[in-house]
Symmetry: C2
Subunit: 306 residues, 2 copies
């Protein structure tokens, strides 16, 4: 590498500098020391170059934002407030200090959105850039996947599918000219999460974020809660974004149900309860598994869930 | 891969099953929920296949132990007691379930040694196995690197150098026949840390663990504490292990000072204070940097520190 480890650590200590009063020992010792409430929520998420991101598709800043968002979404999904993060990164040695600084700035940017601070990390050498973030948060009463009740309604914070559409545009090297195409590519590069929505869901009986796909996560919640999730695709059309995403789906030759039900990485929040904010997309009944209502054809991968 | 992600998660939930009363939500939701004291110590450490370990040199169990030990050592170095771990792993897809199970068992074995539990994780796909562990601990008063005082003595828990000798044996494909060679290779594959030593050092003014090399870590402590560390190599010879390591160093044609001062990954504990247990190896004086006393020739890399 064209720089020493201590140069990188000094740079990172600067980017991640925090005046958080609960941070007692930050970057530079064997470990960080923070003040915590008596109930801590922990999650970890790893992203690998070539699998989760590509340097030719995303800037270092966007990569940093995206990996951080995936972790923060897990905390908000538990009803928790993020507090502190640690970041372990393997670098190939071909990155320059500027790239590393921008990666760190992307991580810090996303963490700052929710008032969290990066307090430590590790640097390693590897054949591909790999980023593992662990995020801590605090919560009084955690919202689990297993709490959905028969008779609950099912809600999402936003319409998913944009990130998957953006990936398709990049994979096919399609022009990024229309407003919808720009929005989709931006969502793939670094999704803008609706943290405020999740922070306002204390009444939810169950919650998770959609990292894989709405189908996958809805099934996981149905299984964990021992109930049946009935998703009504007609209800998705009430979203103000639906028409724009449908037009884009036609341009990409991907069905709208594939995009919305099969697309992940938007990290929209999926919750159950009564009279919650957000877009109602179905209801919970006795039984098990997933049920798709409405006039649209289910995605091919749907069969797995029935 | 020859298995599904949910199969792996079910397996890991079984290996990491814990009856820890402070674990409220374990593997299977978006994040884990644990009860914590009001001061939490956090560290993260990443190990990459081909850089930190090789599958032809170490079993999955040993790799799991070694990466976990590196994290636990950081917590003990702060005077903390480890509580909970999360583990993010990228797999290439060529590993079988048995290998993954043994990796998890190695992690669980090492965590169990100190009463800590693995409460969550993430699995990703990547071109090389990469393991990132984050460990949490609790502490009342953290022992920092910056606390060494003029007039303190310098101590180590054990003689370092075994892991580096073991790496040399494996790299040169030397026979592993003598007791010393077996001990060195075992130390490289999975060091056995002296956790009890570190847990008993509440009186230490400063502490860290030797992950890179004794020279590197001693210099870091000297810089952080704004003092001079005087290491007397003659004092190392009081160790009951010295003669065995010296014989091995001669067989390997590596100088004994190189092995002891330049070898890392044994994670021996380096501490300063008065009348501490362990092997006294020097003293702290006013000034800066490192000073090597005794009749042995300093390693070539020593110059960097003077």
């Amino acid at each position: 590498m064209a720089f020493t480890e201590s140069e990188v650590i000094a740079l990172l200590a600067q980017v991640f500098a925090s005046s958080n009063p609960n941070l007692e020992v930050g970057i530079g010792d064997d470990a960080a020391v923070v003040r915590t409430s008596n109930r801590t929520v922990i999650t970890t998420d790893m992203a690998v170059e070539g699998v989760h991101f590509r340097q030719e598709w995303s800037s270092a800043f966007e990569i940093g934002r995206k990996v951080t968002a995936a972790n923060l979404a897990d905390l908000f999904s538990m009803g928790a407030k993020p507090t502190f993060l640690v970041v372990a990164v393997s670098l190939t040695g071909s990155e320059d200090l500027e790239w590393i600084k921008n990666l760190a700035k992307g991580i810090a940017f996303e963490a700052n959105l929710v008032g969290a601070a990066v307090v430590g990390g590790d640097l390693a050498k590897g054949a591909a850039v790999t980023i593992a973030i662990t995020a801590l948060g605090e919560v009084e009463t955690a919202i689990l996947r297993s709490g959905a009740q028969v008779g609950n309604q099912i809600y999402i914070s936003n319409l998913p599918g944009w990130s998957r559409a953006g990936l398709a545009i990049l994979e096919k090297s399609l022009p990024i000219e229309t407003k919808a195409a720009k929005r989709a590519v931006a969502a793939f590069r670094a999704p803008s999460l609706n943290y405020a929505y999740a922070a306002n869901l204390a009444k939810a009986t169950a919650m998770c974020d959609v990292s894989d796909s709405l189908m996958t996560q809805a099934e996981q919640m149905a299984v964990a809660s021992k109930v049946k999730f009935n998703l009504d695709f007609d209800l998705f059309q009430a979203s103000a974004d639906f028409a724009e995403l449908r037009t884009l789906s036609e341009e990409l030759n991907i069905s709208i149900t594939d995009l919305i039900l099969g697309g992940g990485e938007d990290h929209v929040f999926l919750a159950t309860g009564q009279d919650l904010p957000g877009l109602q997309i179905g209801s919970v009944s006795a039984g098990s598994g997933l049920n798709l209502l409405g006039n649209e054809k289910a995605p091919d991968t749907w069969r797995h869930f029935e």
